[in-house]
C-alpha cells in the first residue's frame, strides 16, 4: 500500500535561518507531488507542484523553493525564513489523472 511521510511534525526556527522540510512517498511510482501551506481562514494554498524528477511548478511568488531530487522525494526549502513563513505545511501526492490526493500529517512551522 502507498504511504506518505512528512517530517518534522513541528519546527520552531528563528527569522533568517534556513529551512528544509522533507516528504517521501512509498508504494507508488511517478506520482504528482504537492506542497501546500495552510493559514488560518485561508484554506490550502498550493505552493509547488511537480509531475516528475526535477520538474517544479511554482504557483505563487514567495520566499520558498522546492526540489525533487528523486521520484518519490519532495523537499521544501528556504535560505532565510521570514515571520510570514509561519504556518502548517502539507505534502501530498496523487497518481496521474483526476483522482484523489493523499496527504501527509503536516509540519507546523513557527518562525520566531
Amino acid at each position: 500500500s502507498q504511504t506518505i511521510h512528512q517530517w518534522p511534525a513541528t519546527l520552531v526556527q528563528p527569522v533568517g535561518s534556513p529551512l528544509s522540510l522533507e516528504c517521501t512517498v512509498e508504494g507508488t511510482s511517478n506520482p504528482n507531488l504537492y506542497w501546500y501551506r495552510q493559514a488560518a481562514g485561508r484554506g490550502l494554498q498550493l505552493l509547488f507542484y511537480s509531475v516528475g524528477i526535477g520538474q517544479i511548478s511554482s504557483e505563487v511568488p514567495q520566499n520558498l523553493s522546492a526540489s525533487r531530487p528523486q521520484d518519490r522525494q519532495f523537499i521544501l526549502s528556504s535560505k532565510k525564513l521570514l515571520l510570514s513563513d509561519s504556518g502548517f505545511y502539507l505534502c501530498a501526492w496523487s497518481s496521474k489523472g483526476p483522482g484523489k490526493a493523499f496527504f501527509g500529517q503536516g509540519t507546523r512551522l513557527t518562525v520566531v
Partner: protein
C-alpha cells in the same frame, strides 16, 4: 483555471441536527470534485469524490454530496451529526493542466463545530 468557493467559513450546529456545507466551483468542461476533512493538527482525509456517474455521492462517516451541474455546486450533507464530526471541511476541484496532469485546488474551508 478552476476556483472553489465555500460560502460559510464556520457552521455551528447541535448534535444530531442535520448539516449542509456549501461549495460552488467555476464551470469547466470536465469536473472532478472532492470533499476532504481535517481534524486538528492533522493532514487531510478524503470524505468522498465525484469523478463521473451518479450525481449523488456517498462517502465515509455518513456524509454525502450532490453534484449539480446547472448550479455548479457540490454541497456536503449529513442528516445527523455527532460531536466527533467537529473538524474543518474542504471542497476541492481537479483542474487539468495538460496531458494526464491535474492540479487540485481547494476552497478556504468550513469549520464545522458540533455542540452537545
Amino acid at each position: 483555471a478552476q476556483s472553489v468557493t465555500q460560502l460559510d467559513s464556520q457552521v455551528p450546529v447541535f448534535e444530531e441536527a442535520p448539516v449542509e456545507l456549501r461549495c460552488n466551483y467555476s464551470s469547466s468542461v470536465s469536473v472532478y470534485l472532492f470533499w476532504y476533512v481535517q481534524y486538528p493538527n492533522q493532514g487531510l482525509q478524503l470524505l468522498l469524490k465525484y469523478l463521473s456517474g451518479s450525481t449523488l455521492v456517498k462517502g465515509i462517516n455518513g456524509f454525502e454530496a450532490e453534484f449539480n451541474k446547472s448550479q455548479t455546486s457540490f454541497h456536503l450533507r449529513k442528516p445527523s451529526v455527532h460531536i466527533s464530526d467537529t473538524a474543518e471541511y474542504f471542497c476541492a476541484v481537479n483542474d487539468k493542466r495538460g496531458g494526464s496532469n491535474y492540479k487540485l485546488t481547494f476552497g478556504k474551508g468550513t469549520l464545522l463545530t458540533v455542540n452537545p
